[in-house]
C-alpha cells in the first residue's frame, strides 16, 4: 500500500528501484487522490488520466528490462503536475484564463520537455490565478482552489492549485512559476516547500509570460531534498530563452551530502519584514527558526533592507507595464478567443500597465519604478556583503478566508509585501514550512541568498529540515 500523502520523490524512487510498488500503482495512487479529494479542493483544471496511466504501464515494461533506468532518467515514473501556464503539447493549457479556454499547444515548454526526458509523468494541469495574476487563485477564470489544511481558506496564489496538489498527494511535485511570490506564498499557505530560482536559472520558453524581467520557473515539493532532485533536471541554459543562464554551479546534489557537519554561516533577519502588519504568530515562528539556525552553527543578526517600503509600488508598476506589453499577443487571431474574455483582474493589470507606459506618465511611473529597482537591488548587494543568507517570513498574514479580499484589489496586492521585493533583484529564495498557528494553519519562512546561490539555499534548507519536522506534517483530507 502506497502512503501517497506522505511519499516523497526520494522515497518513491527507492520504492520503484526495490520494486515495492510498480510505476502504474504509483501513478494510480496519485490519480486516486485527485478522484477522492479534488471535487472539494479544485486544484486541477485538466487531469491526463489515460495518458499518465499509459506512460506508467510503459515505464513498468522498461523497468522490467532495465533495472537501472533510474541512473539514466533520474525522475523515471515520478508523477507530477504543472501549473496551467506551461504549454504542454496536446494537453489543454489555459493559463486559468477564459481567453485560452480549449487552447491546445503545438509544442512543450522546455521545462516540460526536460522533465519528460528525465522520465517524469505529467498527471495534470493545476489551477492558478489567470496568467499568475493574484495571490489566492480567486481570480481564475475557471474555479477557486481550496486550502487542504482548511477548505474555507485560500491555498495562496498564484500557484495555489500546484501547492494544494502537492500537499494532498496529487502527484509528488508540481512545476510552477514565481513573478512576485507565486511559488513561495502558496507553498507557505499549504505547508510545502517551494523554490523561486535566480532569474534566468530555468528556461521560460513555452511558459505564458507575465512580466518577463521578473518571471522565474521552479518546483514545489514535499521537502528540500525533492526540490534538489527536480532543479537538477530543469535548470540550465536553453537557447530558446535568451535570458537563461549558463550553469556554472549546477552540482545541487552536493548540498544533500555536505562535507562538514556544522553550518557556520552569517544569517540576517531583515527588520523591515517583521514590522508593522505582520501576524504575531508568523513573527514568532520566524524568530524561532532563527534559533534553529543558531543551533545549526550560524551567527544570527538583525539587518536592514531600507527601501523595502517602496518595493510593492515599484514591483507592481514594473510588472503591470510588462503585462500590458506581453498580453498584447492575445488578439484571438492565431490562438485563443477575443480580449473580452479576459478576467477582471487581467483587464485591471493591463489597464494599469498601459497607463504607466502611456505618453505623459512614462517618466512619472515606469521610469521611476526602474530606478527604485536599482535601489532594491543595491539593498540586497549591500546586505549580502555582510551576511551569507537572509531568513524572513513569506507572508505577513495567515491563509485568509475565501472571499475576504476579492472586493479590494489593492489589499490583495499588499498581501505580497514580503515576496515581491525579491524578484526585482533577481535573487533566489527557498520557502519552507516553519510552524503552525494555534488554529493549525501553516506558517512559512523563506531563506534568501545572493544571485545564483541555490546550492547554499539547498544546504541551509536541508539542514533546517533535518533539525525540524514541520515539512513532514500533512493535512487531514478526510475532514476537509
Amino acid at each position: 500500500m502506497i502512503d501517497i500523502l506522505r511519499l516523497t520523490i526520494k522515497e518513491a524512487l527507492a520504492g520503484l528501484r526495490k520494486q515495492e510498488f510498480s510505476a502504474e500503482e504509483l501513478t494510480l495512487a496519485s490519480l486516486k487522490q485527485i478522484e477522492k479529494y479534488d471535487k472539494k479542493l479544485k486544484a486541477f483544471i485538466t487531469v491526463c488520466k489515460n495518458e499518465a496511466l499509459d506512460k506508467a504501464r510503459e515505464a513498468d515494461k522498461i523497468i522490467a528490462k532495465e533495472r537501472n533506468i533510474f541512473d539514466r532518467k533520474p525522475l523515471f515514473a515520478i508523477p507530477y503536475s504543472a501549473k496551467d501556464v506551461f504549454c504542454t503539447k496536446g494537453v489543454k493549457s489555459t493559463g486559468s484564463s477564459q481567453i485560452l479556454k480549449g487552447f491546445m499547444p503545438q509544442y512543450n515548454a522546455t521545462v516540460i520537455d526536460r522533465l519528460d526526458q528525465a522520465g517524469a509523468i505529467l498527471i495534470g494541469k493545476t489551477n492558478c490565478d489567470p496568467f499568475g495574476f493574484g495571490s489566492s487563485t480567486e481570480n481564475s477564470g475557471f474555479q477557486t482552489s481550496r486550502n487542504p489544511w482548511n477548505s474555507k481558506k485560500v491555498p495562496g496564489g498564484s500557484s495555489g492549485g500546484s501547492a494544494a496538489a502537492v500537499a494532498s498527494g496529487m502527484g509528488l511535485f508540481s512545476i510552477a512559476e514565481d513573478t512576485g511570490g507565486s511559488i513561495r506564498q502558496p507553498a507557505s499557505f499549504c505547508s510545502v516547500s517551494g523554490l523561486k530560482v535566480s532569474y534566468g536559472r530555468v528556461s521560460r520558453y513555452g511558459v505564458m509570460a507575465y512580466a518577463s524581467s521578473l518571471d522565474t520557473i521552479g518546483p514545489i515539493g514535499k521537502s528540500v531534498y525533492d526540490l534538489v532532485l527536480v532543479l537538477s533536471i530543469i535548470a540550465g541554459k536553453d537557447e530558446m530563452d535568451a535570458s537563461s543562464l549558463q550553469e556554472i554551479d549546477n552540482k545541487y546534489k552536493e548540498a544533500l551530502s555536505p562535507k562538514r557537519a556544522d553550518f557556520k554561516k552569517k544569517v540576517g533577519i531583515p527588520k523591515e519584514y517583521l514590522g508593522e502588519g505582520i501576524d504575531p504568530q508568523i513573527k514568532q515562528a520566524v524568530l524561532q527558526a532563527g534559533k534553529v539556525f543558531e543551533k545549526m552553527g550560524c551567527r544570527l543578526s538583525m539587518v536592514s533592507l531600507p527601501n523595502t517600503k517602496y518595493a510593492i509600488a515599484a514591483y507592481y508598476l514594473i510588472a503591470m507595464s510588462e503585462v500590458s506589453a506581453n498580453l498584447a499577443r492575445y488578439d484571438g487571431i492565431r490562438f485563443g478567443r477575443g480580449r473580452e474574455y479576459f478576467e477582471p483582474e487581467v483587464k485591471r493589470r493591463i489597464m494599469l500597465g498601459t497607463y504607466a507606459l502611456s505618453s505623459g506618465y512614462f517618466d512619472e511611473y515606469y521610469k521611476k519604478a526602474l530606478k527604485v529597482r536599482t535601489l532594491l537591488k543595491k539593498d540586497f548587494d549591500n546586505v549580502f556583503s555582510r551576511v551569507d543568507l537572509l531568513i524572513a517570513p513569506v507572508s505577513p498574514t495567515l491563509p485568509f478566508d475565501i472571499g475576504e479580499k476579492t472586493n479590494d484589489p489593492l489589499a490583495m496586492w499588499l498581501a505580497d509585501a514580503y515576496t515581491v521585493t525579491i524578484n526585482p533583484a533577481g535573487v533566489p529564495s527557498l520557502a519552507l514550512p516553519c510552524g503552525f498557528s494555534k488554529d493549525n494553519l501553516p506558517l512559512g519562512m523563506q531563506i534568501i541568498g545572493q544571485q545564483k546561490s541555490e546550492k547554499l539555499l539547498f544546504e541551509a534548507g536541508t539542514k533546517f529540515q533535518t533539525e525540524t519536522n514541520w515539512h513532514t506534517k500533512h493535512p487531514d483530507l478526510e475532514n476537509l
Partner: protein, 99 residues
C-alpha cells in the same frame, strides 16, 4: 490627472483604447475608482530623490545573446494554424485593416 483618487472617465476610456479593451459602463466606473486608488498608492515613490539613480530594466547581467543562425525543424503550416478560429489556405485570416 486624478482628483480625490478618481481617475477621470476620459482617461480610462483613452487607456482602454490603447489597450484594445472594450469596457462595459460598470467596468469604466470600477476602473475610475480602482486605478485611481492604486495610482495614489504609487505616489509613495515621490518621497524618493532619484535624479542620480540609474534605471535597472533587467538583472541577468547578460547582453546581446544570440543563437547560431541555423535552420531547424519548425511547426508545419497546418500545426501552426491548428488553434486559429479563421484560416484561409495556409494563412491566418484577419479583418481588413485598410479600407
Amino acid at each position: 490627472m486624478k482628483k480625490n483618487n478618481i481617475l477621470p472617465r476620459e482617461e480610462v476610456l483613452h487607456i482602454a483604447k490603447l489597450a484594445c479593451l472594450d469596457l462595459s459602463e460598470k467596468e469604466v466606473k470600477d476602473f475610475q475608482l480602482q486605478l485611481g486608488e492604486i495610482l495614489a498608492f504609487m505616489d509613495v515613490l515621490k518621497e524618493l530623490k532619484l535624479n542620480d539613480v540609474k534605471a535597472t530594466s533587467q538583472v541577468s547581467g547578460l547582453e546581446y545573446i544570440t543563437r547560431a543562425d541555423k535552420i531547424k525543424n519548425s511547426l508545419s503550416a497546418d500545426e501552426a494554424k491548428s488553434q486559429a478560429k479563421k484560416t484561409y489556405k495556409s494563412f491566418f485570416q484577419v479583418r481588413a485593416v485598410l479600407e
